[in-house]
Amino acid sequence: MEVQEFFELTKHAFNKEAVHVHHYKKGEYLFTKGHEIEEMYFLLEGELAIEKNKQLIWIAKKNEFIGICSYFIGENNFAYSAKANFDSKIITIEKKEFDRVVQDNSDLRNDLMQLFCQRIDYTLSNIKVFSDLSRKKRIIDFLVRNIESNQKVINQNYELHYSSTQIAEFVHIPKYFTLKFLKELQAKNILKLSSKNITITDFKGLKLLLTLKGVNL
């Protein structure tokens, strides 16, 4: 039953025998850099942080294939790690079966090509953010982009399920600096901090800060 959703999403392209379901707890690794590529992964529920050299390079969301970059480059081992940001449900597909469907199924090929384009765009925007923006603006940019891609609105507030430590790791900025700046934003009534969540109470105000060229930003 758990796998049924995957088959529906992928229009029954994969053989049932080659597909398995796994559950990962928050913080657990699906694979780490150097792990041999024996299967491909599909994220059915949850969220994954894709990291390379301690740098977050992509946040994988629901209904997404994982490991495709190393697979198409033709590497035998993964060049990055995948860690569950939240409790996650993962489908694994045997590599031989994935090879077969990639050759046979143009829908899957199209989906994968779109995913590649999306990831390249995200990475190029991140390069721009890292080379052009100050540390504070990098934090704001991270919050804004995550809200825009997640759209979790509760009573006109936006909820992000990240701690300040996680954000610091994502934007590659020291934890003390990130927390200090988030507290500054809290004092300006732009967001509310709790141990595991951040609630954005003034999204417009937050976005406006990105365009300001003030001394403090």
Binding site: I73, S106, I120, T123, L124, F130
Partner: protein, 254 residues
């Protein structure tokens, strides 16, 4: 003075004739010596069809092939020459996304995603570039699994390069980034016959755009690398004197 003018006129005429000759050669996909990854997967019939339908253009050094934000209408395949792909920041700062040489294709990502061109392509030396219509490329991707899989391999490699650049910008010093840019140029374009001089001529500003730093810092850092006997600067040309040490200095071997 008169002799000097005659000499200049003769050379300009020779250059013009050579350029005209290059312009008049229509490259054919069937006997193209450039082993392009995407087009390698096509059958002889498909190659003949693409060759019949495609166009080609000659671009002079510095000429723009397409602009970031332009509607994507086709695929560009470099027959000869070198091209840089750059993105413009909000503050007007240019960032080199990648370099491309003969046999490489440009604009495929925009055709696949259906977006406008994501970068500006500029000839960094005189180029001959073929042009395949959007509809033809989309048809090939839909009907030929090999073309689609090879396109994905290109996308995967673009993604890997972009991710490495992100890590470099986030974690490496300016000096390391400039060395990495020199190594990228070496990897992309190789050496001239002497086995030391990079086979590409870029201005200091263009190297700065590649490393994501200012021209002033680039000039200072290149001079420092020259003092350390890692490179030698001859005008705009860069000679790599110690490739091993250069790689060590930017932790490429890690």
């Amino acid at each position: 003075m008169f002799l000097f003018n005659i000499f200049n006129l003769y050379h300009s005429f020779k250059k013009y004739k050579a350029m005209k000759k290059v312009k008049n050669i229509i490259p054919s996909c069937l006997d193209c010596q450039n082993k392009n990854k995407v087009f390698c997967a096509m059958s002889t019939e498909e190659k003949a069809e693409v060759s019949r339908e495609k166009g080609h253009n000659f671009y002079k050094k510095g000429q723009t092939i397409f602009y970031e934000g332009n509607h994507s209408n086709g695929l560009y395949c470099i027959h000869s020459g070198k091209v840089s792909l750059t993105k413009l920041g909000d503050d007007g700062k240019r960032q080199v996304v990648r370099f491309a040489k003969e046999g490489e294709i440009l604009g495929y990502r925009s055709l696949i995603s259906g977006d406008s061109y994501q970068a500006t392509a500029t000839a960094i030396e005189d180029c001959t570039i073929c042009f395949v219509q959007k509809e033809k490329f989309n048809e090939l991707i839909a009907t030929n699994a090999g073309v689609a899989v090879n396109s994905m391999q290109l996308l995967a490699s673009d993604l890997r390069n972009a991710e490495n650049k992100l890590i470099s910008i986030a974690q490496k010093s300016v000096k390391e980034r400039i060395i990495e840019s020199i190594l990228l140029l070496q990897e992309t374009f190789g050496f001239e016959n002497d086995g030391e001089t990079l086979d590409v001529t870029l201005s200091r500003a263009e190297i700065a755009d590649t490393a994501g730093t200012t021209t002033e810092t680039t000039i200072r850092t290149l001079a420092k690398l020259s003092d350390e006997n890692l490179i030698n600067l001859v005008g705009k040309k860069i000679k790599i004197l110690n490739l091993g040490e250069l790689k060590k200095a930017c932790s490429v071997l890690d």
